[in-house]
Amino acid sequence: MKMAIGKYVVLLAVSFGLVFTGCKKYLAANSNISNQVPTTAGDLQALLNRFLFDSPTPIIASDDYFLQYSGWSSMYSIFDQMNYLWDANTPDEGSWAVAYNYIENYNTVLDNINNVSLGDSSAGALPRIKARALFLRAYTFLNLVQVYTKGYDSATAKGDLGICLRTTSSATASSIRATMEETYNQIINDFKTAAVSLPVTEQFSTTPTKVAAYGALARVYLSMSDFVNAKAYADSCLTYNSNLIDFNTLDSNSRYSSPTPQLNPEIIFYTEINGSEVLKSSRALVDSNLYSSYDFNDLRRPMYFRSSSLGGFTFNGSYSHEQSANVFDGIAVDEIYLIRAECEARTSEGYLSGMDDLNTLLKTRWLNTVPFPTFSATSADDALMQILIERRKELLFRGQRKSDLERNNLEPQYAVTLSRDLNGVVYSLPANDLRYAYLIPENVIALGGIVQNPR
């Protein structure tokens, strides 16, 4: 009996052995084709292909629109209602987590860039992918800056609170709020590094290019009031792309006038804001004074606006193909012209070229059956004032207004107080108010141990 049992123990052992021979390989199979550890350049590129939605807050916080009480009260989100009124104690719940989730993707690309194989990709793919990731990260950082910090003030930037400059994909790294100076340095350096390896053109305007990096740098320097650098990068950008659409070629009688985004030659880098119910065209109305400031021969008037049943006008002119709340906030040639024009006007000897740039732009916006009233200025200040007005009129609903307000508010002659009238109650936001920097969500403060924006 003992022998017999022994025999079967051996048999058992052999069969177990068979089961586990090659076990490691057998169990190494991927359990879900959708789930991959990034191993190839293609995997990293896929992480960058996710469409980048920006925070709607820079537009929500701006004076590009207003709500009637019925529109305000019919919103279902209390956060949207409170944020519309610049409520001092309501944090911007959504933007932080969304933006840092994108940043995690970009950091995963940057952390794995040296560990992946080329796969199907061509030899030059990896440096390009790295540059794209750097560009997209900087662009997302910039979007966060526009929500959660006050404007860049070179006098105090060394001590002002910036954002968390997360540059690793590790979930265990702690969060620290950088200063504004560090924040801007990071963004500028990333864009500059990216610009070196990015190609001039891409198949899709959602993919970063060298031109887009120059455009972004012009935007960043402008928001820092560094007009010399802003002008230099605007110049570089326009060297590659100075296309403007002649609005006469658009059909303003069409129910929907905006050209489809891919066909729009002005677009340098395409992003949209994450639609918010605040900005729905059935709710958000444009100030009638602003509307009437457009000349009758200014084609932006019929292209940008349509009359609303609520009374007044609603915005219709986004380069986005969505007519609802997802408006375009990417980089386009018209913005770069305006940046360069402003920088030229800010440097006293160049204001005439600033007016030239303004005329180049506005000519394409003007009805071509009437003579174009060439804009002229008598002084740098006059030029600047005109350029700033046209900037406001051109870049409506483009996400740049909040940044412009913060920048201009630092100069008393351009400072404005915003106000909202809700059922007769007026809420106002004075220039340089602390509320320009939205509160960071409470769980970020508690779990990340970072400093909240002051109130």
Partner: protein
């Protein structure tokens, strides 16, 4: 194939197992000589088809064996043991059959070498008062009688052989055959066969079996007996129950673990097309959470997905029990199993029972044992046919629908507030109800107020629910037909079944049918080798027409047909004017005619699923008690869902029109034609297993052990697609431009044509090694142990953590078998205790994983991926430990029997989300962050209240389970600390919290309505408050704790009555100690519904709303406010008044059957039963005064009446 024969004292005196070697080692088949077989065949019907003459001849090997013995004053037992062992070594088995008293105290001295068996025995028994006979390797010993008598006996003795069958004419194993007035017993073997030697002619033999009526037969000559025992109506707990755990059979009397056994009789009591829902109310510890009823027409939402065994063991991972069919996990939809193929179901509840399934067993295991043929049994044909009918759900009973009057009241109110102003002038022409159109005309002055009122009055005389009843609903009917053939020869067994089920849903045009074929064959080509082949095929086809759901969501005065029954358009999607003008603008008709669509079947989903299963196995017996088997399962299932929206359907017309803008350049980018949505899925699972079984009696020990290894792979593929311009007649599709953006009309959005081609593929692999053993000593003490190690390709988990070792230990003590045990009243008493671990398959990943989206990126359609979870390389497998303490008892004659089990379950390392600083990119990280501790009791009590011509039997099941969260760090995603709004409510899957019952019910403290405004009032910081935002963000300490959302106590009581051929039984189910949340009005949701011209968000509580001061004394429903305040609605919905005690007692079903017996024999039937069955008879008692059924907060189901017939021939 075993034969058991032993001589014993009557049971009450026989406490010692005499010698059961014969039971395990005898060769039953060898006893069956061809001459006898021929005789048998003559008796049997229809044998020619299947039975082959037995060709196995007896090889009395014992006669050629040699033995060497050397004993001095040794007990006979010792000597016999030595003889058996020597025989075994010589590849033969010997069994000794004797009467313990006969050899008590006898000793012998023997000294022989190489002697034959006869010589050996003569030598051993020399001088002792014993004689022996050897037949078929069984050595029978008996006391020598006086020679005279002995001779007389020998002259007239006969050998009686026979076959004992049960009520279904299947072999009855373990029936006792005894000679009246003698102490000679044998029991029938696996084939129901027995043999009694040397019976005095003229004796009476008594054939009995627990649960069956005893038969007495007088012996006249050497004889073959074939007899069917009748089922004793007052059927008892069957002592010869063998639990099947999917790897081995475990005899009930030697089991230490916790099993629940549902035999065929109980299982077939209920009429229904599926297997799992039949366990509701008949298995202890099994709970179906009926709050979330999603399922197919087969199971009505009572299925594996809302089933739990002994409470919930996990938080994030898969919480469904494992389903095993015969030996292998069943990957397909359990609804594909034909319940008529089920022989019995064993539910493995504790660690000792379930641990054999390792990491798949943490949620419990359901082992379905299918019907099979048996050796040496003639062909038997069994059939079952039944028909069920049920009234449709009455839409007038829905609490989530408001009649025309109330709806118009709300519309007028919103209109007066200007809520529709934007919608009425919206350039995208959204849907506006006729009443709002009229109100708008009145305001514009187009019509007068009187005209407006008259028009509205005319409209609202109509109620869409009447249309629903008239045109869209019907009685639900279901039909079931099943036939099976079973039998076997001496070398092969077979089972073949065919089943067909058809359900016509209450929704006109919806239905499903299922066709099953199942065969299970065994074959013994050579001695010691048994081959098994099981093939099953299931095909089911369903049709689903989706418009019924949308009709019940229309505004209540919508009219789908005129008085003559001609279809009318209703307002959906766009305003009536817009929809009407579409055709003249060049578009397809843009109006929605739900009734026309129903009649044309122009919007129908056809689903088809096929499940194939093949199981092959080989079992080789090396020597008695040691076998090895290998088995393999291949299961391949496909499912296909085709939704065809013909060009006549609103869906297709709407989509084609939307993409067309005549003012732009896009004319019909979606071609005018049908749109076909297809989705296909395949599941391929393969299992291989090698196992060695050991089954021996060594001394006083009965040893059972298995060990083996297995490999399992499950591959699931899926694909979906949309085809445009599809022509059913031609089988053609048309190409579509997926790349360009088209501006939609009238919304103006730019969109590409939906592409929706998705491909998914998952592959799960498992490897395991396992061992399971038990030893029963002296028939009283049982010890069991098991160990298993599982590994899987859980992608990302560090390789060294891929495997998880699990084990269990158990012990049993049959006190009533102890010599000192003398409690007459409790004739059977058994204690059991087990402890062990099982595991749960993880659903989390540990390496940085990027997840590819199945659709392309927004805007560019490029493939894109996202980092889907943060890296956590420290994840380990979830474990469930369980202690089980049990006592089984039965009174004298088993008038009262039952079991009581207490268990404590501890789930540890549960993977759950732990909050993470969102700056990392994630709001949470999966960690082994939670523990759950559960205590529970399962009580089963069976009583035979009346026995005899009239019988009455009661079965009671009570289960208690209370699971508490002992650790949990994953709070809500948006906040670091738990706040009140995270925990209120009684919805499924509410956030767990330390120290509370897993699914707890919390409510906002309630302070009535504000007498001035009708606003709901709660408490904040101890003061009455209407600041809902603050209340919702308050600490959970300030919430009112109600109790569990899942009944802590549940069970059923079943009474069965019998009289002659009649049997009547009723099952009453009860659930106690829990709370539920009733739906109520949420004005914000209701207004959204109104704005969209639908009834969504409506609730009859609207009728009870506060309207004027004083109402607050009569109602808790807040006043209608404008604008709606979501936080006010959320506060009220989760405030105290909307939580009610769920306790209830329901009459689950009644079954009445009549069994025709002997009268039908001459027609060839051995049994026919006609039966009637009614289910969901209603609530007998409930704790809530609102008359609500906590299981069905919508429309409670109507009674189902079933009639059927089943029989055997």
């Amino acid at each position: 194939m075993q034969f058991s024969a032993y001589v014993a004292k009557p049971p009450e005196r026989c406490r010692e197992i005499i010698d059961k070697q014969g039971v395990t080692a005898g060769k039953g088949m060898a006893l069956f000589r061809s001459a006898d077989a021929q005789k048998l065949f003559q008796i049997m019907r229809l044998t020619a088809i299947i039975l082959l003459a037995s060709t196995i001849s007896v090889t009395a090997k014992a006669y050629s064996q040699t033995f060497s013995l050397s004993f001095r004053n040794a007990s006979l037992e010792q000597v016999f043991q030595s003889i058996r062992k020597q025989a075994l070594k010589q590849q033969s088995q010997l069994a000794f059959s004797y009467y313990q008293e006969d050899i008590q105290g006898l000793t012998t001295s023997v000294e022989i070498k190489g002697a034959g068996i006869t010589e050996t025995l003569n030598e051993c028994l020399k001088g002792l008062p014993l004689s022996f006979t050897i037949e078929n390797n069984i050595i029978s010993l008996k006391r020598k009688s006086t020679p005279a008598l002995n001779e007389a006996q020998q002259d007239s003795t006969v050998t009686v052989k026979g076959l004992i069958l049960n009520e279904n004419n299947e072999p009855l194993v373990g029936a006792t055959v005894s000679v009246k007035g003698k102490t000679l017993f044998v029991t029938t073997n696996e084939s129901g066969i027995f043999q009694l030697n040397e019976i005095l002619s003229g004796s009476e033999i008594v054939i009995s079996h627990v649960g069956y009526s005893t038969e007495v037969i007088k012996i006249k000559d050497k004889l073959y007996i074939k007899l069917s025992l009748k089922l004793n109506v007052a059927n008892l707990q069957d002592v010869s129950v063998v639990y099947n755990n999917g790897y081995q059979g475990v005899a009930k009397d030697r089991a230490t673990g916790s099993y629940d056994f549902v035999d065929r009789k109980l299982f077939e009591r209920e009429v229904g097309p599926d297997v799992i829902s039949k366990l509701d109310g008949i298995a202890s510890g099994v709970f179906f959470d009926k709050r979330a009823q999603t399922g197919s027409l087969f199971d009505n939402g009572v299925n594996i997905n809302n089933m739990s065994i002994r409470g919930i063991s996990t938080i994030e991972s898969n919480a469904t029990p494992l389903v095993v069919v015969d030996n292998f996990p069943y990957t397909g939809d359990p609804n594909n199993i034909n319940p008529n193929d089920v022989e019995s179901i064993t539910i493995l509840k504790d660690a000792a029972a379930a641990s054999i399934w390792g990491t798949q067993a943490g949620n419990g295991v359901i082992v379905i044992t299918t019907k099979k043929g048996a050796l040496n049994v003639p062909l038997k044909v069994t059939f079952n046919a039944n028909f069920s009918i049920q009234k449709p759900s009455n839409p007038f009973k829905s609490p989530n629908f408001l009649g025309p009057a109330d709806y118009v009241t709300a519309e007028k109110f919103l209109f007066s507030q200007g809520d529709y102003d934007g919608i009425l002038v919206d350039p995208t022409d959204p849907a506006v109800t006729p009443v709002v159109e009229i109100l708008s005309q009145e305001r514009n002055g187009t019509i007068t107020a009187d005209q407006a009122n008259a028009q509205i009055d005319a409209l609202t005389t109509h109620d869409v629910r009447n249309d629903e009843l008239k045109y869209f609903l019907r009685d639900r009917t279901s039909q079931q037909y099943a036939v099976n053939l079973a039998g076997g020869s001496s070398q092969a067994t077979y089972y073949l079944s065919v089943g067909y089920d058809k359900i016509n849903s209450q929704a006109v045009a919806d239905g499903i049918d299922r066709f099953t074929i199942n065969s299970y064959n065994t074959y013994r080509p050579i001695k010691n080798l048994e081959l098994t082949g099981n093939i099953s095929y299931t095909q089911s086809n369903g049709a689903n027409y989706s418009t019924i759901g949308s009709v019940s969501n229309l505004y209540p005065y919508a009219q789908v047909a005129d008085a003559q029954g001609n279809p009318l358009p209703v307002v959906t999607g766009y305003s009536a004017a817009f929809a009407q003008s579409a055709v003249q603008n060049g578009y397809l008709n843009w109006q929605d005619y739900p009734l026309q669509e129903l009649r044309d079947r122009s919007n129908q989903t056809i689903s088809k699923s096929i499940d194939n299963r093949f199981v092959g196995g080989a079992k080789y017996t090396f020597m008695p008690g040691i076998t090895a088997d290998i088995s393999y399962q291949y299961e391949y299932g496909t499912s296909q869902n085709n939704t065809l929206n013909t060009v006549d359907s609103y869906v297709a017309r709407n989509e084609i029109n939307e993409y067309t803008d005549f003012s732009g350049s896009n004319e019909f980018p979606i071609p005018i034609g049908d749109i076909l949505n297809t989705s296909n899925g395949t599941t391929l699972s393969q299992d291989g297993r090698g196992q060695i079984n050991f089954n021996k009696v060594i001394g006083m020990s009965e040893l059972t052990a298995i060990g083996g290894g297995e490999v399992r792979e499950v591959k699931v593929d899926g694909q979906s697609n949309i085809l445009y311009g599809y022509s059913h007649q031609l089988g053609t599709v048309q190409p579509v431009d997926y790349v360009d953006y088209f501006q939609l009309y009238p919304s103006g959005n730019y969109q590409t044509v939906p592409f929706n081609t998705q491909v998914s593929e998952t592959l799960n692999r498992f490897t395991s090694i396992y061992f399971n053993g038990s030893d029963t000593y002296r028939g009283r003490y049982t010890l069991s142990a098991s160990a298993r190690k599982d590994a899987a390709n859980v992608y990302g988990v560090n390789a060294n953590q891929k495997g998880t070792p699990l084990y269990s230990l158990g012990g049993g003590w049959k006190i009533s078998n102890e010599p000192f045990y003398h409690v007459k009243a409790i004739s059977f008493l058994n204690l059991r205790a087990t402890f062990g671990y099982s595991g749960i398959n993880p659903a989390a990943f540990a390496l940085p994983i990027i997840s590819y989206s199945s659709v392309g990126s927004y805007f560019t359609n490029l493939p894109y991926a996202n980092v889907s979870s943060p890296a956590n390389p420290n994840l380990i497998w979830e474990k469930v430990s369980q202690i089980n303490l049990a006592v089984d008892f039965s009174s004298f004659k088993q008038i009262i029997s039952g079991s009581f089990e207490y268990y404590r379950k501890h789930s540890t390392n549960l993977i759950g989300p732990a909050p993470l600083d969102p700056t990392t990119g994630f709001s949470s990280i999966d960690e082994n962050s939670a523990n759950i501790k559960g205590d529970g009791v399962d009580l089963q009590l069976n009583t035979k209240n009346i026995q005899g011509r009239v019988s009455w039997e009661t079965n009671l099941i009570i289960s208690y389970n209370k699971s508490k969260v002992t650790k949990y760090i994953g709070y809500s995603y948006n906040s670091n600390a738990p706040i009140a709004s995270d925990y209120v409510g009684a919805a499924q899957g509410i956030a767990p919290k330390n120290g509370i019952i897993l699914e707890s019910v919390y409510a906002y403290k309630w302070e009535g309505l504000d007498p001035a405004t009708g606003d709901p009032q709660g408490y904040y910081q101890g003061k009455v408050s209407k600041d809902y935002e603050d209340i919702m963000n308050d600490s959970i300490r300030n919430l009112v704790y109600k109790g569990s959302a899942i009944p802590l106590y549940f069970g059923s009581i079943r009474n069965a009555f019998g009289y002659k051929g009649f049997s009547l039984s009723a099952n009453i189910a009860f659930r106690f100690a829990y709370w539920f949340q009733r739906p109520t009005i949420s004005y914000s949701a209701f207004y959204q519904g109104l704005e969209g011209a639908t009834s969504s968000g409506a609730n009859i509580d609207f009728d009870k709303r506060w309207q004027k001061p004083g109402d607050e004394k009569l109602t808790t429903v807040p006043s209608m406010n404008y604008p709606a305040d979501q936080t006010r609605d959320m506060f009220y919905a989760n405030a105290e008044p909307n939580f009610l005690k769920g306790d209830n007692v329901k009459l689950q079903d009644i079954r009445l059957a009549y069994q025709l017996d002997n009268k039908i024999r001459r027609f060839g039937f051995s049994r026919i039963e006609v039966y009637g069955y009614v289910r969901d008879l209603g609530v007998l008692w409930r704790a809530n005064r609102e008359h609500l059924d906590p299981d069905y907060l919508g429309i409670p189901p109507a009674k189902t009446f079933s009639f059927g017939i089943k029989g055997v021939f």
